[in-house]
């Protein structure tokens, strides 16, 4: 017996998908960040932003676009990176249990010498490992572009931003894993995870508009990750604690849930 066979199987089986996502993330970074001197630091751009409705500017997070940290946050962490990693998290989290169960493969795996808890643990770990990889890749690329693009990001703050991105996408993935373990249904797992991500984004956007609605952001995982502007201010331990703590709680839910029910498929 060698260690973590299911984890290794998941990673080996998903390398094509991971390669595709890696290319997507790299492309997003390489397209956006080098343009900072031309867009964020550009006087014309500032004038353009001034003419736009402030609600729109706040919604897409472009109110900070004139600094390197703000630009990186609004283009990548808050938008393209968030979007790409969220989609990846939803699809991997859904496939980990519910997708595998619905296509009949889980039955065969569980007929072998593995426990259901082992399946949940190793598959969750595989999803987490892939998200970590995408986040590391992002971090390294941003670091490489930091000087050339004149972003002037501090390394510690970059780590905090990457940790926040990982936290919010991991939470989304774990929603999919947990709902999959509870129901065994792809559609439910996918819907719940995508719902949490979209709702989190929307609550944050609405909460940004006025002080009266700012409380909405207390319910948004997106806000837990980014409202304290980690690229500027460093780690927001409270927000990170919520993201990783809830992810761990959802893992426990998944472990218990799959162990207690019939495998259908």
């Amino acid at each position: 017996m060698t260690a973590v066979p299911l984890l290794r199987r998941s990673l080996a089986g998903g390398w094509r998908s991971l390669l595709g996502w890696s290319l997507g993330v790299a492309a997003a970074l390489l397209l956006y960040l080098p343009l900072f001197p031309a867009i964020g630091g550009n006087a014309d751009m500032r004038e353009l932003l001034d003419t736009l409705p402030p609600e729109l500017v706040r919604t897409i997070g472009y109110d900070q676009i004139t600094t390197g940290a703000g630009y990186t946050q609004s283009t990548f962490f808050g938008l393209m990176g968030f979007l790409l990693l969220t989609i990846a998290a939803v699809s991997w989290g859904t496939a980990a249990v519910a997708g595998d169960e619905e296509n009949g493969a889980l039955e065969l795996t569980l007929a072998h010498g593995v426990s259901r808890r082992q399946v949940v643990l190793e598959r969750s770990a595989a999803v987490a490992a892939r998200l970590v990889w995408l986040c590391l890749l992002s971090g390294v690329l941003i670091l490489l572009l930091n000087g050339p693009a004149g972003l002037e990001l501090r390394e510690g703050n970059l780590v905090a931003g990457v940790a926040a991105l990982l936290g919010v996408t991991l939470l989304t993935a774990m929603v999919a894993v947990a709902v999959g373990a509870l129901t065994g249904r792809r559609a439910f797992a996918l819907g719940a995870a995508a719902g949490v991500a979209v709702l989190g984004y929307a609550l944050n956007a609405v909460g940004n508009q006025t002080e009266d609605l700012a409380w909405l952001r207390d319910w948004s995982p997106y806000a837990w990750a980014f409202r304290e502007a980690p690229l500027v201010n460093g780690a927001d331990w409270g927000g990170l604690g919520l993201l990783y703590g809830l992810s761990a709680a959802l893992l426990v839910v998944a472990l218990v849930a799959l162990d207690r029910r019939d495998i259908t498929g």
């Binding site: 094509r16 065969l108 593995v114």
Partner: protein, 347 residues
């Protein structure tokens, strides 16, 4: 001997619908035990309960002496399972998939996967999702046999296999039994496994209708016979055959200078042979007994009293042998046998 599988009042409901309803079964260690029943009879549910994929609603099941949930992975390492609906859609090759299963259910002898794949004529180098249904089934069989488990649980193992591979599979079953492995397999047609199984249970609508060993089924076997005698003997032949209690479904036909009779003989063949011996017999065909028909007959006798309305048609078969049966079959005995014959002929 201890029982390899033992169930007591095993019941499984999905919502209000019972898939298994109070099943009591004992499978002795070292036996090849077949479960026969139409789709939806509960065969797959029974097997999933044995593997802890499903949990019983009530009653109990013990596999190799352990309750499946308590036995956990260690118990399942001693079981080889072929699911009834084998869906293999991944991009990995058969070899990689088997290596993975060997890791989680091992230990596996070196070269075991290749040896089994060679036997069944399976290419392990291809992506599993590109395999045909028959080849996926072979891969499913290989992964079940791979780690030489003490118990093989095979759901419809012959489905999708061509006759030659079916023969090889039956040989693998015989070797498994010689090696002391227990085999628990299912089929919706008995004829496919009657050569391999020692005992069979018939499952209908979640209940065990009959458990019997194949030998005693053979004794109560139903055989189709055809006999040709010289012209002019028809009246005498008819009278003699009609007098035999275990001959039913008589029909006569005439050719040039010959009278042909076809009938169904239930149980001992001897009285029939003695009866026709007094006529000038021109030809005689006795088909190999179809155990499935015997079983259905037993089944008809046991619960043919309208206990289950939906099965009335089937249950009636036993009582009205002969014409009723023939009507239900695609071909009549006069035209070259019944179902099962063709399959046997092809092997």
């Amino acid at each position: 001997m201890t029982a390899a599988v033992e169930t007591a009042a095993l019941t499984k409901r999905f919502g209000a619908r019972p898939a298994l309803d109070g099943v009591d079964l004992v499978v002795e260690e070292g036996a090849v035990f077949g479960v026969i029943g139409p789709n939806g009879a509960g065969k797959t549910t029974l097997m999933r309960l044995m593997l802890d994929i499903l949990r019983p609603t009530s009653g109990s099941v013990r596999v190799l002496g352990e309750e499946p949930r308590a036995g956990g992975p260690a118990l399942r390492r001693r079981i080889g399972f072929l699911p009834g609906e084998l869906r293999l859609e991944s991009r990995i090759t058969g070899r990689e998939l088997l290596r993975h299963f060997a890791e989680i259910s091992g230990p596996v002898e070196r070269g075991a996967a290749e040896a089994l794949a060679d036997r069944l004529g399976l290419d392990l180098g291809r992506q599993v999702r590109t395999l045909s249904k028959g080849n996926k089934q072979k891969l499913g069989l290989v992964q079940a046999f791979l780690h030489r488990p003490r118990l093989l649980v095979l759901d419809e193992p012959t489905s999708g296999l061509d006759p030659l591979v079916q023969q090889e599979f039956l040989a693998m079953l015989r070797e498994a039994r010689q090696g002391g492995q227990t085999v628990f397999l299912s089929s919706h047609v008995l004829s496919e496994i009657q050569q391999a199984a020692d005992r069979v249970a018939i499952l209908r609508a979640g209940r065990v209708v009959v458990v019997s060993d194949v030998e005693s089924l053979r004794e109560t076997a139903v055989r189709r016979v055809r006999v040709g005698v010289a012209a002019g003997s028809e009246g005498g032949l008819r009278a003699v055959l009609e007098a035999l209690p275990n001959v039913t479904g008589l029909s006569f036909g005439a050719e040039d200078h010959r009278v042909r009779a076809a009938a169904t003989v239930e149980g001992a063949i001897d009285p029939f042979i003695k009866a026709i011996a007094r006529f000038p017999v021109a030809d005689l065909t006795v088909e190999e007994p179809d155990l499935e028909e015997s079983v259905l007959r037993l089944y008809g006798e046991r619960i043919g009293d309208g206990e289950r309305a939906g099965d009335g048609e089937r249950a009636g078969d036993g009582e009205r042998a002969g014409d009723g049966e023939r009507a239900a079959h695609p071909s009549s005995p006069l035209h070259g046998g019944h179902r099962g014959t063709g399959k046997r002929g092809a092997r």
